[in-house]
Symmetry: C2
Subunit: 161 residues, 2 copies
């Protein structure tokens, strides 16, 4: 059980679009070349971000993707949910109701949620909260704090002067 690599691709791509700054759309090919990714597969992930409202797509020649929101308005949770979907990490199959044990329990015994499910859901809530508390602007600020000249490196790597 691990998150797909699409999340990492999406976050880095969003940050790169922010560093470029100018509202010009950037093509999937350029974004993929920035980190040596599969252009077609990255395109699939970016489509998820478009459907989630985080990106805008511009069709036609000189088209591409551009940020739909400022980084301050996008949390890490938004990105994860856009890429992975908002299904819960732990899906309770309600096995407590099945088998020789489950048959012994009257229906009234299942009126309250499964204790195992509740415990797992509580942990998942903590995970989502921690993701929601971090916006992309925070991540960007951390990266720049680690490497002050990062903005110029990105612009140069993408051919923007």
């Amino acid at each position: 059980m691990r998150t797909g690599k699409g999340v990492e691709w999406a976050v880095h791509t969003l940050l790169n679009l922010a560093w470029l700054g100018d509202g010009e759309p950037v093509s999937t090919a350029q974004l993929a070349a920035g980190h040596d990714l599969s252009a077609s597969y990255l395109n699939k992930q970016l489509q998820h971000l478009v459907k989630a409202g985080l990106l805008e797509s511009v069709p036609g020649a000189r088209g591409g993707f551009r940020l739909a929101l400022p980084l301050e308005a996008v949390s890490m949770l938004d990105v994860v949910l856009a890429i992975e979907g908002d299904e819960p990490l732990f899906h309770c199959a309600e096995i407590r109701r099945c088998g020789s044990i489950g048959e012994q329990v009257p229906e009234s015994g299942f009126s309250r949620p499964c204790a195992v499910n509740s415990a797992m859901a509580q942990a998942e809530t903590a995970w989502r909260r921690a993701l929601a508390e971090q916006c992309l602007a925070d991540v960007q600020a951390t990266a720049v704090a680690h490497t002050p000249a990062l903005t110029s490196y990105v612009k140069r790597g993408m051919g923007h002067d």
Copy 2:
């Protein structure tokens, strides 16, 4: 991305062993019948719990599995790690170093951890902490609070008097 169902199976099985109480080993077939699970696949999960030190296995006739620790000493995190392995939810592929952008950044720019990885790791820490704070005895207490006669239901379902 979601946790395997083995986690749910393992927790319910551990609770059932605790409810039976007597230190007698219980076979995989009986435990599986309790919730109508695949005996062979449940056996595979229980082997993980044995390797993690949460269960003891008794071979031979009248053999089976028995708890190795009291429920107070086992956290939900212990069970999840035993079943799913302790690999991180988010594995950073370090794509920041690759491609036309990564090549622009000098080696010193990567001395600190990736900001994206740090953000995801922080959320995972919150998740693990929430799991570690809940021991199986707490989950058991919640289940009994919801269904007071649950202990007798389990014993009857497993044929223990």
